[in-house]
């Protein structure tokens, strides 16, 4: 999930033996959590829907996707494509085959190019953006922990949320847990200057990665979006290609507004990827499909809990399977 560039062979600790095993466990867990409230739905889909293929079949499939927040346009496109394939005989008109094909199509829609997180630069600068309360700060904690634990990288965090009460204290706690260094400014300080200090500190100390937190903001607040663009420019003054990765966090419970969030944020700061958070709830995070289908922004990570280790790579086909499997 992460491109570490030249660091890869030299610095990186060998991947744990247990990795494949763990990953399987991970997705079992994800599937479990995804399927909790989905049982009824899946029963519907697998049992009755495919018994005989008619209009109702397609309607129920649409319903399932809509209920997962995939949104009408993407849902219509996916189901239409599937229906077409069945009509033309490319896919056998038979339950199991249709279901498998649907998973394939969903996975295809969810996959876009450039799925890796590019941390090959030294230091690599990662900026976290998103609407209030979507999970930016928590995700930063998780990423930092992952980088230092799995790859032995040194991480600096920049407390760029100088607005919300106790935001820096919150990030400080995560820095502590993840073994990262924290650079913070005064409450109300210019977020650009905090970002600047954090990146300079990382350069001075030859740190591997610096992650900049930002205050939550609604994409409709033009002045705050401009502020974000400015933070980005300030970072770019220190390291021209930076930030190397800008990630937006989108809450899995988000409905169709998630599309607007992703669109407007990426217009302001060139978002490289999406982190879908809170997938441990019953929300299916179908907005991820809409975002990659309609905007071509890849989903890179998912958050499945509030603990350090509750971060996973986004795997489109596992995800699509989890969305529809028993």
């Amino acid at each position: 999930m992460i491109d570490l560039g030249s660091r890869e062979p030299a610095n990186v600790a060998p991947p744990e033996e247990a990795e494949p095993e763990r990953r399987r466990g991970v997705f079992r867990r994800l599937r479990e959590s995804l399927s909790k409230s989905r049982q009824a739905l899946q029963e519907e889909i697998t049992a009755s829907v495919f018994e005989k293929i008619d209009d109702e079949t397609w309607e129920l499939l649409e319903e399932a996707l809509i209920l997962a927040d995939v949104g009408a346009p993407t849902t219509a496109a996916v189901v239409e494509r599937l229906e077409h394939e069945v009509d033309s005989g490319a896919v056998p008109a038979e339950g199991e085959a249709i279901r498998n094909r649907l998973i394939e199509i969903l996975a295809e829609v969810a996959s876009t190019a450039r799925a890796k997180i590019d941390l090959s630069a030294q230091p690599a600068v990662l900026m976290m953006v998103g609407v209030n309360g979507t999970g930016k700060t928590t995700t930063i904690g998780k990423i930092a922990w992952h980088l230092s634990k799995e790859f032995g990288l040194s991480v600096v965090m920049g407390a760029g949320d100088t607005y919300r009460a106790a935001a820096a204290e919150q990030l400080a706690e995560w820095a502590d847990r993840a073994g990262a260094e924290l650079v913070r400014g005064q409450a109300g300080a210019d977020p650009g200057s905090v970002a600047y200090d954090a990146v300079s500190a990382a350069v001075a100390r030859n740190a591997d990665v610096v992650i900049v937190d930002t205050a939550g903001r609604l994409h409709t607040q033009d002045n705050l979006m401009e502020e974000l663009a400015k933070v980005r420019r300030v970072i770019g003054k220190l390291i021209p290609e930076a930030p190397h990765e800008t990630l937006i966090s989108i809450d899995a419970t988000t409905g169709q507004n998630g599309l607007r969030q992703a669109k407007v944020f990426s217009e302001a700061v060139e978002v490289d990827g999406v982190v879908i958070t809170k997938l441990d709830g019953t929300a299916r995070g179908g907005i991820a499909l809409a975002i990659s289908a309609e905007l071509g922004i890849p989903v890179k990570l998912i958050g499945v809990g509030e603990k350090l280790e509750d971060l996973r790579p986004f795997d489109p086909s596992e995800y699509a399977t989890a969305l529809l499997s028993e």
Binding site: S37, L67, N132, G133, A165, Q256
Partner: protein, 454 residues
């Protein structure tokens, strides 16, 4: 796509009208449009299904079938039914007859509980009540600090015991203290929790049992999608909440979740949270929400907002001008500048009826620069043109477009919009709502149902 709902309905159904009688299939296709629009607004699928069923029955009745403009009639019915569904305008918080009124706040992670607590404190402060807050979120890092800081800003006392005490104990301890110190209101902040997290949901029930709150409020993010229903049902079971606080309504989410939660649990939305500042908080208006869900603008909110910002005298002058039909583009420019002072434009423009109808201006609520263009266009006009936009034709139009760096079409659209606006504002200034039929025809929008005002 959504703003065009009424356009679309009217064109679908009016077309039919010219061919003769409306058939069931015409109504069906209208229902499809409505269904899509509601889904786009994140109204829960099941709620949409039930809703369109009721709607269809009404639409097949005589009031539509015999109407001269069935499209318009359908839009009116949709609006009425939606406002009904949001309903419950009279919902008030229950207050204690003696001792502190206890309010328990609950919700998912990141929905905005802590901020809502501080806002509620401020809300009561304005009523000269003595408010205390209890910091029971011991899980999220620095949540206690956040409540302490925000509580102080609101002028409330914050009862906290750090993060090593059980939240149930903190809540009961805080209640004892609030009684001893004779506070009027105690608001209990709790940690965000997933509705499927059984341990934490039990903890919430225990806090509820121990503190016997007068009101339990569920905090729901306006951007929530289809899952809102499941969440609300689970919280209804564990916490038996009495009402809902909708947050982040200052964004551009249609907030269909509000409708869904109301429809499924029957609990009213009581408060609307519309910004990060402590004063961005108010009673909720169901009728306005219905219109927002349909993308029909929110004239009332706009007027209220304007009232609080525009000074009396210039407002009177403006009204005179409107009545006498002397309102010019010059005034429009001044007005626009005033409006822009009111805050994030996206919010304000969304409230304007007619924005949806202006194809060129439809996306203006995203783009502040659009308004700069409008300003530039007006600034490129001569005083005479500003006073009488009908002068603006052919070469003048071209000159203005060149001067402002815009296109001729934009200049034309602006003048047209201005004309329509003038008609509407004149009738409003004369104390009557604009003729709904005319207004709809000109803007593709729908008038508010007059009966639904509190």
């Amino acid at each position: 796509m959504f703003d065009q709902l009424s356009d679309r309905l009217q064109s679908t159904l009016s077309d039919v009208r010219s061919r003769g009688k409306l058939g069931e299939s015409d109504i069906d296709s209208a229902m499809r449009d409505i269904r899509l629009a509601l889904l786009e607004a994140d109204v829960n699928f099941k709620v949409v299904k039930a809703f369109t069923k009721t709607l269809k029955e009404r639409c097949l009745g005589a009031e539509v079938m015999d109407s001269l403009d069935p499209g318009q009639q359908v839009v009116k019915i949709v609006n009425e039914e939606l406002a009904d569904l949001m309903g419950g305008t009279g919902a008030e918080l229950a207050m204690a007859s003696s001792g502190p009124t206890v309010i328990l706040m609950a919700g998912l992670q990141g929905s905005g509980k802590t901020t809502a607590c501080a806002k509620l404190a401020q809300y009561f402060k304005k009523q000269r009540k003595d408010v205390a807050l209890a910091a029971c979120d011991v899980y999220r890092p620095a949540a206690v600090d956040q409540l302490v800081t925000m509580g102080q800003r609101a002028g409330a006392h914050v009862y906290e015991k750090g993060t090593d005490t059980d939240p149930v104990d903190i809540a009961t301890w805080a209640l004892d203290r609030a009684r001893e110190e004779r506070r009027d209101v105690l608001v209990i902040d709790t940690a965000g929790r997933l509705h499927i997290d059984q341990d934490l949901m039990k903890e919430l029930s225990r806090i509820r049992d121990k503190t016997k709150p007068h009101d339990v409020l569920l905090v729901v993010d306006a951007m929530t999608g289809q899952d809102a229903v499941g969440v609300a049902e689970s919280f209804a079971e564990a916490a038996e909440f009495d009402g809902v606080v909708m947050t982040k309504l200052d964004g551009d989410a249609r907030g269909g979740a509000a409708l869904s939660v109301k429809a499924v649990t029957g609990k009213p939305i009581m408060f609307a949270s519309t910004g990060e500042k402590i004063e961005d908080f108010d009673r909720f208006h169901p009728d306005r929400m219905a219109q927002r869900i349909l993308g029909m603008g929110d004239v009332l909110s706009l007027i209220e907002k304007a009232e609080s910002q525009v000074d009396e005298k210039s407002a009177e002058e403006l009204e005179e001008k409107l009545k006498k039909d002397q309102f010019t583009l010059e005034d429009f420019l001044t007005q626009m500048k005033q409006v822009r002072k009111m805050g994030p434009l996206s919010g304000i423009l969304g409230m304007l009826p007619g924005m949806g109808a202006m194809k060129e201006l439809r996306n203006a609520n995203i783009d502040e620069r659009q308004l700069d263009r409008t300003e530039a266009i007006i600034l490129s006009m001569t005083p005479a043109e500003r006073a009488d936009p009908h002068l603006i034709k052919g070469r003048r139009r071209k000159r203005i477009a060149d001067g402002s760096g815009t296109r001729v079409q934009e200049v034309r659209a602006l003048v047209k919009q201005f004309d329509q606006m003038r008609v509407m504002m004149r009738s409003m200034a004369n104390g009557k709502m604009p003729d709904p039929q005319k207004l709809m025809r000109m803007s593709g929008q729908v008038p508010k149902p007059k009966v639904r005002r509190r």
